[in-house]
Symmetry: C2
Subunit: 197 residues, 2 copies
């Protein structure tokens, strides 16, 4: 895999926000990066190759930002903070434009195995960490014995995708999805049905 | 608005399943409909015009299929059946392909007001009927007094979009989303916290 250079990745981000995915050309990205099209092609053979490098780059930033479950910490606080990070992506100014482009990229997944693999990596990171936090919560008696780590992970993945799509289509506030998750934790996971103030 | 003829609408459906939205041309649709491109253009000036007619056509089928809340009926049974219909679209063979094309269309919404209006009509139908069922459930003491019809509607919209996107990207089973909804009804809406067998 070629080493993505940071300035090309940033130019790709800006170009996706401006043009969307379907209409995006290597020329647009070269213009954003203030490079010649030839120099861009020297690094990335095709738009698809560049997009795969961009998805790898996003994945690195995503895992840095949302973090991983720490067995030494509080499982419930970590689960809530983790899901909150997932539902609230950074960069408010450009979030809707960028999520729109991501929705287009997701719609490519059934046709493109390499895209699908990259998108699956995000899912797997979410799945593993939600599972670990729920399992630790059950072990320590914070969560109910019948809490199912896999079912919670599926719910978080569905909620995150739904929140993203609602944001794109209807401008919905990600806080709504977080409120749903908080209420899910309180009613379905917490062992003693405490309602946090 | 031009009257969409049923055979063109069916051809559009098949062409979307086969080609996706971005790559779709009037020529593809004409070929599916076994018509000349000129005859298709006689009915629809552009791909965008045809897609708007197709979204109107889908909306009609959608409202027929999912129905509307009947104040004389059981609010809880109707709410569950309504959400079940929304999460489980018809036509298993082509569902994933078609939902993929719909995801592409949703990604156009921020750029195209006419698309956005059509997509909003689906949301509004869902919102109104969920709200009516929840409000009736609260009135009759089936649902808790603090059940918030608007919040439930937002949750259903998020869940439906999430389930659609999970289905496209990861092949997820819509039954998972329905299980989440059932558990939401049982833990957050039902007044007496009965768990259905």
């Amino acid at each position: 895999m070629s080493e993505p250079s940071e300035d090309i990745m940033e130019a790709t981000f800006r170009a996706l926000c401006e043009h969307g995915y379907a209409a995006l050309t290597m020329r647009d990205i070269a213009a954003e990066a203030d490079r010649s099209k030839a120099s861009l092609h020297y690094h990335y053979e095709s738009k698809q190759g560049l997009m795969l490098a961009f998805l790898d780059h996003l994945f690195e930033h995503f895992t840095d930002r949302v973090g991983s479950f720490d067995p030494a910490g509080d499982p419930d606080a970590q689960l809530r903070a983790f899901v909150d990070e997932i539902l609230h992506p950074p960069g408010e100014d450009t979030t809707r434009e960028f999520r729109t482009a991501l929705l287009e990229i997701k719609a490519q997944a059934p046709y493109d195995e390499a895209f699908r693999e990259r998108l699956t990596a995000f899912d797997e990171h979410i799945r593993e960490n939600v599972r670990a936090a729920v399992a630790a919560g059950v072990d320590r008696g914070v969560y109910r014995d019948d809490a199912d780590p896999d079912a919670v992970a599926r719910f978080v993945l569905t909620l995150a995708d739904g929140a993203q799509s609602r944001h794109v289509v209807a401008g919905a506030d990600p806080d709504d999805a977080m409120a749903v998750f908080e209420s899910y934790v309180e009613s379905r996971l917490l062992a003693d049905r405490e309602v946090s103030a």
